[in-house]
């Protein structure tokens, strides 16, 4: 009994950390600019493959490779802003929410396909792999899972410090609260958006390395964590960072429990039913406040 509990907790906490990292990236963008980035999953895959290339082809050490993944993700985020988001924001208005979603779906497909063309479809092994395990109580916890949780938590702490303590973070929060007021106070909103997308892309890069370390490297590796991260953002109320992290851990543990209890294929369906039930009960999400609509 106790070993099952340990296994559920280990899987749940590891997946929770990964989902949380993905939700932070998504939630940041949604909170500050009302944009759903459907290319986030493809950026996860990009980070994973960049690490693979830097370690396997260039032969550089792993920390350098992870930095490269972050840089590649950040660069992809910036290109996304300069190429697509900026002009959509300019022409958009009320249709921005949907048009940016459709455009980023297009980018996601293109990026995923580009990875497929470069690296091929067969799964590759992520060099970020740590063997060994630690005995905890009745069960055994693989070292890799501990490292994943530790890295994810460290990254999230760094992001929260960045958001709450720095000048850049203050500008991001100001823009998120009221775009026009921030603009009038002299906040360069365009640059803030660029920074947010770069930050979120960097998070996607590192998240992709971690995700591919417990699964495998495939061009579509980001799709599943992204979809679940979206669901968790929705449950928490889109744009609510601490809520999204809490929802990610909570739902991941429930998912792991269902997978152990009823078989792997029921994990996601049960998760979704739970989410729908929560949303019928609280349409703005668990921690979201009901929107006040002005006419």
């Amino acid at each position: 009994m106790l070993d099952i509990l340990t296994a559920v907790l280990v899987t749940g906490l590891t997946n929770g950390a990964l989902y949380a990292l993905a939700t932070v990236g998504l939630s940041l963008i949604w909170g500050s600019m009302g944009m759903l980035n459907m290319a986030h999953g493809a950026m996860l895959a990009l980070g994973g493959y960049i690490t693979f290339t830097v370690v396997e082809t260039l032969g550089l050490p792993l920390p350098v490779a992870m930095l490269a993944a972050v840089a590649a993700g950040a660069l992809a985020g910036m290109l996304l802003y300069l190429g697509i988001v900026r002009s959509l924001l300019k022409s958009g208005g009320p249709g921005f929410e949907t048009s940016v979603m459709i455009a980023t779906v297009g980018i996601a497909i293109a990026l995923q396909n580009a990875l497929l063309l470069v690296y091929g479809g067969q799964p590759l092994r992520q060099p970020f792999a740590i063997s060994g395990a630690v005995g905890v109580g009745a069960g055994v916890v693989p070292l890799l899972n501990i490292v994943i949780v530790a890295v994810a938590v460290a990254v999230m702490v760094a992001v929260s410090v960045l958001i709450s303590r720095t000048r850049m973070g203050r500008a991001i929060r100001a823009t998120a609260q009221n775009r026009d007021a921030a603009l009038l106070m002299g906040v360069p909103v365009g640059r803030v958006y660029l920074q947010v997308l770069a930050l979120s892309g960097g998070l996607a890069g590192i998240c992709g390395v971690l995700v591919s370390s417990i699964t495998q490297l495939t061009p579509g590796l980001g799709a599943d964590p992204m979809l679940k991260a979206f669901i968790m953002c929705v449950v928490a109320g889109l744009g609510n960072l601490p809520g999204a992290i809490a929802a990610a851990f909570g739902l991941a543990i429930i998912e792991a429990a269902v997978q152990f209890g009823a078989g792997a294929r029921w994990g996601f369906p049960v998760l979704l039913l739970l989410v729908i039930a929560i949303l019928i009960w609280r349409p703005a999400g668990l921690f979201g406040r009901a929107q006040i609509r002005r006419m």
């Binding site: 759903l36 190429g83 697509i84 002009s87 959509l88 022409s91 958009g92 249709g95 929410e97 949907t98 048009s99 940016v100 979603m101 459709i102 455009a103 980023t104 779906v105 297009g106 980018i107 996601a108 497909i109 293109a110 990026l111 396909n113 580009a114 063309l117 799709a223 979809l227 979206f230 669901i231 929705v234 889109l238 792997a264 294929r265 996601f268 369906p269 979704l272 989410v275 729908i276 949303l279 019928i280 349409p283 609509r293 002005r294 006419m295």
Partner: protein, 338 residues
Amino acid sequence: MTDASLPAAAPAPRRGIATDLAVGALLLALAIAAPFLIDSRYVLGQIVLALFWASVAAQWNLLFGYAGVFSLAQMAIFAVGGYATAMLAQYLELSIWAAIPLGALIAVVFSVIVGLACLRLQGVYVALLTLAIAQVLYLLIVTDTACFRMEGTSCRQFTGGATGFARFGDFGMRQLLRGDWMMGNYAIVLCGFVLTMVMSWVIIRSPMGLAFKALRDNPAYAVARGVNRFHTQLLVFALSAFFTGLTGGLYAAHFQAIGPGLFSLSQLLFVIAIAVVGGVGTFWGPVVGAIVLMLADEFMREAGEFRTLGLGLIIAAVTVLLPRGLVGKAADLFRRRP
């Protein structure tokens, strides 16, 4: 209506009807002439495929472009219609002609369940939940390994599993027309397509359509004027699901096969791209989009593996450069002229 600052969403209705009738008659004449002008069975088959996708995109356009429901379950509803048709023909040995309308009704039931769960929410929340539901359905079908019944030595899963269904019956045109069977199938699919287009036109022009558009343009105002958002959107969801499911049934019968690949994101993307390229919220947009994208797809076939890449880039570029699609752009050009 007289306020000149309002976007020209509704041009003088009578002129719109005349234009729509003229365009419709022209397209229909072309479509009827096509099988007599085209010799190649391959080309005719591709036109049938384009009709399917145009039809699904038109239903998605009704949902999103007119009623403002951003659903990503469109291909799932299409697949449910197709699967229901296939399963009814396979397990109950119904004639395909009975199975198709029943399949469409099952798609409606499915859509109402999805709608009850999702439509209380708004905008992107609806998009994310419908996408998740479609993915869950796909996962449940693909991972289905439990034997439902034995067929010969092989075991068939209730949902068809990863392989799907095949050889459950067709339109019967192969016996009737022999070598020209594709022409017969083309005629049937064209009839289905015309039916769905006429019905969506009637829906859009009816008072119901006005309620849809009001909810899209200003939800708060529409609700204040007594339009029930949830009921109206559930209604349009079910209506579009009927025709989407019907198209799914025709698809299954035409190909005599159906599989879980229909749930894939790239398939959904192709349908959305058709509507986006043609022009979301314009009646002829999906038809124009289907023609343009099927042609582009045909040309990119030469480029082989770069097809999907190109498609993705086209969608992103069109959203940025032509926010109202080809038809919207053309309409703007005509309207600017004094």
